[in-house]
Symmetry: C2
């Protein structure tokens, strides 16, 4: 996520008072936000003259360069539909994509656990190579460290991507206004529930696989179809669609109103969520694209997303309204409404 627009207020508002780090601080929800805005941003902001962001756009030697970084600690390493290596490439390509940039080059660091079978490492390097090929990005550098057996759960990977802005896209939450439409590129929650099932901690089985993929084709498609109408873009990973939209609501100051019956959710995901008392809107995705566009361009943007392979189930899932200011409201099929907050706690740790 990008904090540029909120850093000043964040500095004034949030203080991180938790005495120690808990799993929830890594879950991408409220606790993560408090940690980042209450500790990282004020301390590094002072040094850097610029707030901490997840995808920063910089001027470098006269060129506009975008950079983003992410670490991956998913457990288990491999799961239906993907693995840590592919996730590490796609996640970084996607962070750049939704910031309006095309990834050009990646670098990666590996923290490996002593005793890791070479075959496992080879599989993940190959997964990275395949994902990079698919996303059209080169892997140009890396670093490897090894820690003792028992640390690092086989491996952690960090990837950093640099890229160049896609012409014509200016993403700015302050450009969002009532009437704008919210679109999503397909069913939500597949990744998080797939990881949960892959851990075999539950007596559940389902034919489900992670949605990990590059979302760049979606960004490029709506850029072609409706670039001047794009208001905001995000890949709703940790914390799910609800967390991303709460951030949007906070940043733009308007209400984000979702039509629950329009939000695509597979039966398997819905079933698992009901059983576990979770909301699909809080479950992580790794290949979904969430965007806000001007109402006049919504149908055109939707059509553009549906033309992309894998985007056939794209939907308009809601719109921006004046109220409830700064919050996300879901209207249910029965005419009711409920406010959906950011993710609180960490019901599904280490999903990426």
């Amino acid at each position: 996520m990008n904090y540029e627009s909120q850093a000043a207020t964040a500095l004034a508002r949030i203080r991180f008072r938790d005495p120690q780090i808990e799993m929830s601080h890594g879950a991408g929800g409220k606790a993560s936000r408090r940690l980042i805005e209450g500790l990282f941003v004020p301390l590094l902001y002072e040094s850097s003259g610029q707030p901490l962001g997840d995808a920063a756009h910089l001027n470098l030697d006269g060129a506009r360069v975008a950079i983003t970084t992410d670490s991956f600690v998913v457990k288990p390493l491999r799961f239906p539909g993907g693995s840590i290596g592919g996730l590490a490439v796609n996640g970084t390509v996607n962070d750049l994509a939704v910031s309006g940039a095309k990834a050009e080059a990646l670098v990666a660091t590996f923290v490996l656990e002593a005793g890791l079978p070479t075959e496992t490492l080879r599989d993940e390097i190959q997964a990275m190579a395949a994902a990079a090929r698919k996303a059209g990005v080169r892997i140009v550098g890396g670093d490897t460290k090894v820690v003792e057996h028992g640390k690092a759960d086989s491996m952690y990977i960090s990837t950093t991507g640099i890229g160049t802005p896609i012409p014509g896209i200016a993403v700015d939450p302050s450009s969002v206004s009532p009437g704008d439409k919210i679109l999503v590129s397909g069913p939500i929650g597949d990744h998080g529930i797939t990881i949960l099932l892959a851990r075999n901690e539950l007596d559940l089985e389902a034919d489900l696989h992670s949605d990990t993929r590059t979302v760049l084709p979606f960004v490029e498609a709506i850029a072609r179809a409706a670039s001047s109408s794009i208001r905001w873009m995000r890949d709703p990973t940790r914390g799910g669609v609800a967390t991303s939209l709460n951030e949007l609501a906070r940043d733009c100051g308007f209400g984000v109103v979702l039509d629950e019956s329009a939000v695509p959710v597979r039966d398997e995901v819905r079933g698992a969520c009901e059983l576990l008392g979770l909301d699909p809107l809080h479950i992580a995705n790794e290949g979904q694209f969430l965007t806000v566009v001007a109402a006049s361009a919504a149908e055109e943007a939707l059509e553009a997303l549906r033309q992309i392979p894998g985007g056939e189930e794209s939907r308009i899932i809601g719109e921006i309204q004046q109220e409830p200011a700064g919050a996300v409201l879901v209207t249910t099929p029965y005419g009711g409404t409920r406010v959906v907050d950011m993710l609180v706690g960490d019901p599904l740790p280490r999903i990426c």
Copy 2:
């Protein structure tokens, strides 16, 4: 290190056959090189159209951009003279510097262990901010993940730096030729031995501290004094001066001949090495600068390094000779010689 010049031969020559990952694969010596050239380079090379390097220089939107990445798993987190946070900034700034680039922006990822005291994290963020200020680089983005208690030894940090080339510097091992002089910016081995002592596993005490610092001022100083005479630069971290010089010898095909009595080593480092059967040439540094310059510019370059605060003990420590081709030879004060190989094994794990 930069593999561009050797990738083709590496592909033909090295195959990684070890069945599993061991600590030595992360030590920066022979085993690391086998892992990188035998597994990472061929697999990622194929996908990327370009070999894996530690500091790559790319064309991006018409600009020349350098990028490097490193992970840090040092144990303990804090040690005399520094800590993981400062190391993470300086290490990346230095990798760019010795590739001939000035770091402009950094991004960082944190893998935190659940239960980590907030105070410890705050200290490291502050250490990063301080090091960044000192090196003149901005921290512009980051990511945080949390893993269960017992994993990740408090924290691992990965940093990626992007920068722009320093005008007038062209570093290329193939430009190295017999007669060229080898210079170092100060006493070697301080960092590795400091870490060793900080672990309290030995009944040794010494007034020693890590040399962690930015080496950019050294690079800029010789660029001003003798830019066209610079043949090669390196910050000899993991694997020490001997490993860096063996890589140089292999890359340029000539002999690297060191005068042992000219190599600055503190008594405390020499003493600890003798006790442990280690060679100071294999001990890691985090703030030393190693360079090869044309003989005609050597004195001028030396003077330039000595003018930099902290560079007063810079020395000319050897020269390039025809023989022994591709190897490092040390001449001892008693008229003897010995060939010094790259670091083999991992006598001091996790020093950065």
